[in-house]
Amino acid sequence: MAGVIPINVRRTNQNKARERTLQTSKVIPIFLTAIALIFFILMLIVPLVSVFVKAFEQGAGLYYAAISDPIAFKAIKLTLITISIVVPINTVFGLIAAWAIAKFKFKGKNLLITFIDLPFAISPVVAGLIFVLLFSTSYGLFAPLLNAWGIKIIFAPAGIVLATLFVTLPFVARELIPLMEAQGTSEEEAALTLGASGFKTFLFITLPNIKWALIYSIMLTAARAAGEFGAVSVVSGHIRGLTNTVPLHVEILYNEYKFSAAFAVASLLTVIAIINVIIKNIADWKIKQQTKI
């Protein structure tokens, strides 16, 4: 018996991803785009614009007065302080967590991912209540300790920072993990073979590759830290000029029927949102450029 065995098994390694578009009639895409656009205008643009319209309803003078009101000013200050503490901490944590999860294999990885997702799963109000249960000076779990040391967390800025820290914890890691996983480890390995230390590899290879996603996720964290209402509302106690953040201040103005003032302060948060959208677009574009290879 005889047989011929061909052995030249060639692998075609050309991963040429070509962008394709569906070849259908022109009517359907136009129709779908129109629906999306109308929905987008109704749900997003109209409310956004109306915030500003309402804010300037009674003139720029009142707008300025609402923002520069001493109590509003204190609220803005507290919000800024919260952001400046929360954002660096969560950025560093998110970066380390994403790096570990995306680039290394270790036991308990899934558990870590679950923990990072926890703040997304828990309602902010419940999160706030958890902090009250832990740190309240009258019935909290750590009440004796806090009373002994004279530390006040609930109904104090510290509680607001803690609650915000908890709520905004997932943003950086969640944004970076998929990107870093997609990028793999080959560039880092190349750097190692060229003699770069672990730190230099991170600094010169990993960081530049995730730069835009990182910037965007930091903006997202900042925006959420500025705008967080539920959890902060529970731990704040609404002490004017002391534990009121911008969103809480807006609520107070609103409840007092000072609509123009409420919208004026709210417009500050809206501006942050708009900046976010712009940075998100730049980031997406840059990431696309980078991963084109």
Binding site: M1, V4, I5, P6, I7, E187, A191, L192, A196
Partner: protein, 357 residues
């Protein structure tokens, strides 16, 4: 620098990717790791580079144990299968990277780095493209930049993982010849992975044939091609005709074909497989004794200096492939459908129980 791989074993979960690998690579050699997909080639290369930890065994460079050293300390050049160029850096920055990241005491000055990078750009003939980004290069250009980047730190060991895998046939041929010249010019020991036997036979000093995490054979291209130690290597290195038959006291029988096999004098009625390369098939127009079998020509490809013939045995209907020179083909005046007489001029007989194909 010589590399001694001894007793290397690597298991992923419960899968044995490498099983007890022993291999000594001499200083200045260009060695090809050849094997089918999944045979452990990349894994072995990564273990040599320190990118992967072996479960057991040791890696010795120039007599010094490197098993526990980090990748950075091993100072090997590594060219990755998919280039792994730094996307956010220009060609120039990519090549300069290995020098720039040195600790400040060992780092060359800016001018020196500049000079060195241009030297390498000239070497890979890419001087005009220094300012481009990797995404703006063709596959072959990326490959050459990856090589230049690895060479900039003047490694004594160069490891290449399917360096030409993603390129078309013409470019790979040019690049591998170029790699051979480059290797000869520098005092460097190179190991390159490939699953293309032609590539390995073409440029390597020695070929290591891997299969399922084990080394099947080590030898020069001539040795492994002409004297494969087992059926796997025979199959892997070029086309081959198989004849299944029996051997008894030094006589082999493959249907109507009878051959003398003095090396199997002790064999008593055993199943055997005979291997013959297509160019070792002799074709005659008339039968001459028992060493010939009748076959019908069913396919002829007469393009180029070598003519490929496919034939069907008259006695059992099995196929035989042959390669003959154009001259011979013209002399014999072969035609489709013609009955010819075929004999294996050279063959190797393996007793299958000893080997698993």
């Amino acid at each position: 620098m010589s590399i001694e791989i001894s007793n290397i074993t690597k298991t992923f979960d419960s899968f044995k990717a490498l099983n007890n690998i022993h291999l000594k690579i001499n200083t200045g050699e260009l060695v090809a790791l050849l094997g089918p997909s999944g045979s452990g080639k990349t894994t072995l290369l990564r273990i040599i580079a320190g990118l992967e930890r072996a479960d057991g065994g040791s890696i010795i460079f120039d007599g010094k144990d490197n098993t526990k050293k980090t990748t950075q300390d091993r100072k090997v050049g590594f060219v990755f299968q998919h280039y792994a160029l730094f996307k956010h850096m220009t060609v120039f920055e990519n090549i300069a990277f290995g020098l720039k990241v040195r600790p400040s005491k060992l780092r060359p000055s800016k001018e020196e780095i500049n000079k060195k990078v241009h030297e390498l750009l000239a070497l890979v003939k890419m001087e005009e493209l220094a300012k481009r980004y990797p995404s703006q290069l063709s596959g072959g250009q990326r490959q050459r930049i990856a090589l230049a980047r690895a060479l900039v730190v003047e490694p004594k060991v160069l490891l290449l993982d399917e360096p030409f895998g993603a390129l078309d046939a013409k470019v790979r041929k040019d690049l591998r010849r170029w790699l051979r010249k480059l290797h000869d010019k520098y005092p460097i020991t190179s190991v390159f992975v490939t699953h293309d036997q032609e590539e390995a036979l073409d440029v390597a000093d020695r070929i290591v044939i891997l299969n399922q995490g084990k080394i099947e054979q080590i030898g020069t291209p001539e040795e492994v091609y002409d004297n494969p130690v087992n059926p796997f290597v025979y199959n892997f290195l070029g086309n081959v005709n198989l004849f299944h038959g029996r051997v008894h006291k030094g006589k082999a029988e493959f249907g109507s074909l009878k051959l003398d096999v003095p090396e199997h004098l002790e064999a008593r009625d055993r199943q055997v497989v005979s291997y013959t390369r297509p160019h070792d098939i002799e074709i005659c127009l008339e039968a001459q004794g028992h060493e010939f079998i009748a076959a019908e020509i069913i396919f002829i490809r007469a393009i180029g200096p070598i003519v490929n013939l496919e034939m069907k045995r008259v006695d059992n209907g099995e196929y035989i492939e042959a390669e003959i020179s154009k001259e011979n083909y013209r002399n014999l005046k072969l035609k489709l459908g013609q009955i010819v007489y075929v004999k294996p001029r050279d063959f190797r007989i393996f007793i299958p129980e000893d080997y698993v194909i």
